[in-house]
Amino acid sequence: MELLSHLADGFATSLSPLNLLIVILGVTAGLFIGAMPGLGSVNGVAIVLPMTFIVPPSSAIILLAAIYYGAMYGGAISSILLGIPGASTAVATTFDGRPMAQQGKAGLALIAAATASFVGGTISVVLFTLFAAPLADVALAFGPAEEFALVLLAFTTFVGLGGDDVLKTIIMICLGLALSTVGLDLISGQPRLIFFDEPGFFSGISFLVLAIGIYGIGEVLYTIETSKSAPTVTPAKLTFADLWLGLKEVNKLWKTLTFGSFIGFFVGMLPAAGATPAALMSYGLSKIMSKEPETFGKGNIEGVASPETANNAASTGSLLPMLTLGIPGSPTTALLLGGMVMWGLVPGPMLFIEQPDFVWGLISSLYTANLAAVLVNLALIPLFVWALRMPFTVLCSIVLVLCIVGGYAPSQKIHDVWLIAGFGVAGYLLRKADYPMAPLVLALVLGPLMEKSFRQTLIAEQGNVLAFVERPLSATFIAISLVFFLLPLLKYAKKSSRARGASNEPAK
């Protein structure tokens, strides 16, 4: 088979001793870059890109793939251990990862994240290998109307949550949407909601800033208050026996993992979306489909595995439009695209035909990088967990410093640091009033995408709102959204009728 021989050729290059060494170094570096709040795969790839002129192009691709994967794995680490999203793609991982760490299950959460990432990475690379060319057509079929329908689907998974107060969820979504309009309007270029004429608001509010404020600072404030008399040291130790037990535990999640991989890959493949929306969507969907949605956000292992699978799968998926259409699906792939131009490669429909060596070298290096990343990550977990044994007073200051650095790093604007402080206090107060935070973050991530695609569709269709349901793909998504919106209601009705029946059977 042609495919296999191409792949074998690719492996021949990516498995040479030099390249193996590059993979391990790249993955380890990527892991730490990803674990630093504010730094993600974008930064990792950006640092390394100029160095790739020194090594041969095939090794350069391998190095970039290794950093890319390493950073995707690393993002989960600070999300779980410190409650600060290590990278934008790992925001959803904090929802359940942090509570698990507080319950002393940091090791388990990290194992779940690593294994889930591996599964997501592997399934998506296989999908990529088999279907890259035909899938490019799917990406093309996505116009503004379809994009909007997909984003709507992501929203409904959050509005229809069983456990939370629906009204509070909707309020938080509206707040998030309002924040997402700050800055320059994409369509007309006019400034909107520039508070106090501060120039910093021109570039909008980054959701990473919001997430760091709410989850990082807010969490610290909340912990200080709840543990003021008896500062708790999180009991955390990890032996290799625990590691084995953890892997067995994760094994039970195969359904979530498979599901997250597919969602991640497909959402990541759409040029507009990328890994962050993919992870959030996967989280929401697995919560809806779960038998016990109320445990999500309180330390459910599925809530860690699901977004981690999806964000890794999405990072592979976003390579697809970059290679086949020349359109990057994420900031990181935009940089990779720049790199390809420097190497004299023309991304686009002809790349697979004209440059098979490059394409298959890249695909095979994704396999090796993914395997290396999971091994390095698992080996380092005991070290990460050990970091949690610091006294709370020390850990707390470290978290605060990391929040400030992580907020300042991406944009280098002190404006963002002030925003983080503000969001931290606001987040703390809102949490005390029992408002859910995840929908706020989701709305800020998806809001701009939703507004843009909605307006583009209306402009193109002369204001005809029916355009959304007249197109088959978008109509399908809207129908599924409706189902998801109504599903919790049905579940609720079923539960209460059962409760009326007689015994309230324990969940699971």
Binding site: A46, A141, I187, P191, F202, L325, G338, M342, P347, M350
Partner: protein, 325 residues
């Protein structure tokens, strides 16, 4: 997300690399004392960004500068962020900025307190061209077909392009004026996005730069109808120019470098020489041919005169669109 934070790191790497490779002897009085910041007036991944990074990589690879050149994206507000930044860097010898046409249009459209006349021109590297595109599946073969189809659509013809007030929308306005047609202009985030939506059939036509549509053209997915250039573009020898068809429509996207007000003349000379060498490099010459860019090198006062002339023309164009402030 930008990755300015990595600058320090990249700097250290590049600096150590510079120690290993012997620095080129430059016969100049002035040399950069620290890494040079290359401000990009656009976000990551777009045409302008890709080109600026290509320049940076050629400079690095060919050792054209004695200090590393570090690209920094400041794309906020159609380049307003970058323009303000450059204004605040008065007399700084270690900042240069890669420009595109929003260099004129942004200060004209929004009052950001920047007068581009104050900046120091360094070098114009290229003029990017515009082509009218349709999906290869459409029946439109000629400009006449196109105009007829747009008229038949009665204002519902979907023209995709970059943000309103930016280059693509100006070219579209020129088309509308010349042919007395009306289209629905759908703005997208970048040229790549526009090309994808044209191929996917979500819009009916576009005025992409050749580099943005080239991949799809090679794959037989899009068809060039006419070029907004005085002469035919070498990679599309069969595509007529608007001029040949009797319509005086020419529009360029300039790709240049400028520096802050009050830069030391010796430093200006240094950068000018650097870009002269870049212009002569094999990589750049190959790239311009492949991507249908016009390498049209211009420096100093001539460049400044060009900028001011273009600013005037854009003020007229924007005025016609009802966009000028």
């Amino acid at each position: 997300m930008t990755y300015n934070f990595t600058r320090g790191f990249a700097l250290a790497l590049a600096a150590s690399a510079a120690l290993v490779t012997a620095p080129v002897a430059v016969a100049e009085d002035w040399k950069p004392q620290k890494p040079v910041e290359m401000v990009i007036m656009a976000g990551q991944g777009g045409g302008a960004d890709r080109l600026a990074r290509l320049f940076q990589s050629i400079i690095q690879k060919e050792n054209l500068a004695s200090m590393p050149v570090l690209p920094v994206n400041k794309g906020g507000g159609s380049g307003a962020e970058a323009l303000r930044y450059l204004k605040d860097k008065e007399s700084d010898n270690h900042v240069i900025m890669a420009t595109l046409n929003s260099y004129y249009t942004t200060p004209l459209r929004t009052d950001i307190g920047v007068d581009i006349e104050e900046f120091t021109p360094i070098a114009r590297m290229a003029l990017d061209t515009f082509v009218l595109w349709v999906n290869a599946d459409s029946d439109i073969q000629t400009l006449d077909d196109y105009v007829a189809a747009v008229k038949a659509a009665g204002g519902e013809w979907k023209m995709g392009g970059t943000g309103t007030g930016q280059e693509d929308s100006l070219v579209t306005a020129m088309l509308e004026n010349e042919f007395d047609i009306k289209v629905t202009y759908v703005p997208f985030k970048g040229g790549g996005d526009v090309a994808k939506n044209l191929v996917g059939g979500h819009i009916d036509s576009s005025v992409n730069n050749p580099s943005e549509a080239l991949g799809f053209y090679n794959a037989g997915k899009v068809r060039p109808i006419a070029a907004f250039t005085p002469e035919r573009i070498s990679v599309f020898p069969d595509t007529p120019t608007m001029g040949e068809l009797g319509h005086d429509l020419v529009y360029w996207m300039q790709r240049s470098f400028v520096a802050p007000k009050g830069m030391d003349p010796a430093a200006v000379a240094y950068y000018t020489e650097m870009f002269e060498k870049l212009n002569a490099s094999e990589e750049w010459q190959t790239y311009t041919t492949e991507k249908a860019l016009m390498a049209d090198f211009l420096t100093g006062d001539e460049l400044q005169a060009y900028f001011l002339d273009e600013r005037g023309k854009h003020a007229d164009l924007l005025g016609k669109m009802g966009e000028g402030s």
